[in-house]
C-alpha cells in the first residue's frame, strides 16, 4: 500500500468528495480504480478482462450512489472494501454461483483493510508519533516492516548495536506511555 493509497489519504479525499469537491472526487475514483483492479485481479482467477472492468465500474457506481452510507467517523477503506466484496459476491451469484469455486473469498488481502486492522494501525502510528524521529524510524523498519537489524543499520548508517539500543529505548518509552495511559 503506497502513501497515495493509505487509509488516511483516501479518507481525506472521501471527506472532501462528500462536501462536493470534484477534483478530490476524481482523484479518489482513480485511486480506487487501481486498488479495485488489484483486488478483483487477485480474486477472479481466469475471469476475462472485460468481466473485471465491468465489476470495477459497477463498484465505482455503487460507491457513488451509496456514498451517504459512509460514516465520516469511521475508516474509509473498511467501508469501501465491504462494497467491493459485496459486489464480487453478487457478481458470482448473478452467474448462478457457477464460478464461485474459482473465487478466493479469503480474508488475506481485505484483512489489510479491515476496520480493526486499520484502527490498530492508526493507534500504532499515533503512539509512534510521540517518539523522537530516529527511534520511530528504527522501530518502523525493524518491528513493523520486518527488515533485519543489519539491513536497517547499513541503510541508516548506524552500527547494529546502535540500532538495537535505539529500538530498545523506543519500545521502553512506548511501554511507559501505555502504562501511564498517555
Amino acid at each position: 500500500m503506497t502513501t497515495a493509497h493509505s487509509e488516511e489519504a483516501l479518507k481525506t479525499l472521501m471527506l472532501l468528495s462528500l462536501d462536493g469537491d470534484e477534483a478530490a472526487y476524481r482523484h479518489l475514483l482513480n485511486a480506487l480504480r487501481i486498488l479495485l483492479v488489484g483486488y478483483y485481479g487477485r480474486r477472479m482467477g481466469a475471469a476475462t478482462k472485460a468481466d473485471m472492468e465491468d465489476l470495477v465500474q459497477e463498484t465505482l457506481l455503487a460507491l457513488h450512489s451509496r456514498r451517504s452510507t459512509y460514516d465520516r467517523e469511521r475508516p474509509f477503506t473498511a467501508w469501501f472494501f465491504s462494497i467491493a466484496r459485496y459486489k464480487l459476491i453478487d457478481h458470482h451469484r448473478g452467474r448462478g454461483g457457477r464460478k464461485l469455486a474459482e473465487t478466493e473469498l479469503g480474508e488475506d488481502i481485505e484483512s489489510d483493510f479491515s476496520e480493526e486492522a486499520v484502527t490498530a494501525r492508526m493507534d500504532v502510528e499515533r503512539l509512534l508519533g510521540s517518539l523522537p524521529e530516529k527511534q520511530r524510524e528504527l522501530i518502523r523498519r525493524v518491528k513493523l516492516e520486518g527488515q533485519s537489524v543489519a539491513d536497517t543499520a547499513s541503510r541508516t548508517g548506524q552500527s547494529e548495536s546502535a540500532v538495537k539500543v535505539g529500538i530498545h529505548r523506543g519500545l521502553k518509552a512506548l511501554a511507559e506511555k501505555l502504562r501511564g495511559g498517555a
Binding site: 462528500l18 462536501d19 472526487y25 480504480r33 457506481l61 451509496r66 451517504s68 465491504s82 453478487d90
Partner: protein, 214 residues
C-alpha cells in the same frame, strides 16, 4: 461497454454534496410516517381498547408496551448498523434474548401469583388466534418503510438485514396493537405477541435477498 474513464468523469460531473447524517435522516423519514400509518390504521379499524383509561394505571399494560417498544428499538438500532456495508448486527441477538427472558420472567411470576383456573385466560385469552395476524397486519406499513429506507442504503447481508428489519417492524406493529388489545396476561404477550413479531421477521428474511439487492 463504456470506458471506466468516462464513467469516472460522469460520476464527478454528477457529484453533489452529501448532508451529514444523511442515513439517520432517511431512517427517520422512512420509519416515523410508516409508524403513523400503522397507528391510524389501528385507530380506524380496531380502535383503542375501551377500558384504556383504567388500563393506563395497570403495570401489566406498561410491561406489555415496554416489551414491544424495547424489542423494536433494539432491532431498529441493529438495522441501522446493518444498513452500512461494513456494519454488523452487533449485540442485537443478546439484547433480544435478554428482553425475551425478562418477559418470560414476568409471565412466570404472574402465573405463580394467580390461581390455576385463570391460566386459560392468562395464556390463551380470548384473542390468541387472531392476535399474531393482526400484529402482522399492523407491522406491514412499518416493514414497507424499512424496505424503502434500506433500498437507499447499502446492506451487505441481505437475509439477516431483512430478518431483523422484519422483527423491528413486527415489534413496532405489536406495540401499536397493544393499544387495542385487552389481554392482561403476560404469558399471552410472551407467546402470541412474539409469534406475530417472528412472523414478520420471517417475511423480512424472505423478502430481504429479493428487495434489498443493489
Amino acid at each position: 461497454m463504456r470506458k471506466t474513464d468516462d464513467i469516472i468523469e460522469s460520476l464527478v460531473g454528477e457529484l453533489k454534496p452529501v448532508p451529514r447524517h444523511g442515513l439517520q435522516r432517511r431512517f427517520v423519514l422512512g420509519i416515523l410516517p410508516a409508524l403513523a400509518v400503522s397507528l391510524v390504521l389501528m385507530l380506524t379499524i380496531a380502535g383503542l381498547r375501551p377500558d384504556l383509561s383504567q388500563a393506563l394505571s395497570l403495570p401489566l399494560f406498561w410491561i406489555k408496551s415496554a416489551y414491544n417498544a424495547l424489542l423494536a428499538i433494539a432491532a431498529f438500532l441493529a438495522v441501522y448498523h446493518l444498513a452500512r456495508p461494513e456494519g454488523s448486527q452487533g449485540r442485537f441477538f443478546a439484547a433480544a434474548a435478554a428482553i425475551f427472558a425478562a418477559m418470560a420472567a414476568a409471565a412466570a411470576i404472574q402465573l405463580l401469583l394467580s390461581p390455576a383456573e385463570t391460566y386459560p385466560a392468562l395464556i390463551l385469552g380470548s384473542s390468541a388466534l387472531h392476535c399474531p395476524f393482526l400484529i402482522f397486519a399492523f407491522a406491514l406499513p412499518v416493514l414497507a418503510g424499512n424496505a424503502w429506507v434500506l433500498r437507499g442504503a447499502a446492506p451487505t447481508n441481505l437475509r439477516l438485514t431483512g430478518f431483523i428489519a422484519g422483527l423491528a417492524a413486527g415489534a413496532a406493529g405489536a406495540w401499536v396493537y397493544s393499544w387495542f388489545c385487552t389481554e392482561n396476561g403476560m404469558p399471552f404477550v410472551l407467546i402470541w405477541y412474539s409469534l406475530g413479531i417472528l412472523l414478520t421477521g420471517a417475511l423480512g428474511s424472505l423478502l430481504g435477498p429479493r428487495l434489498l439487492r443493489w
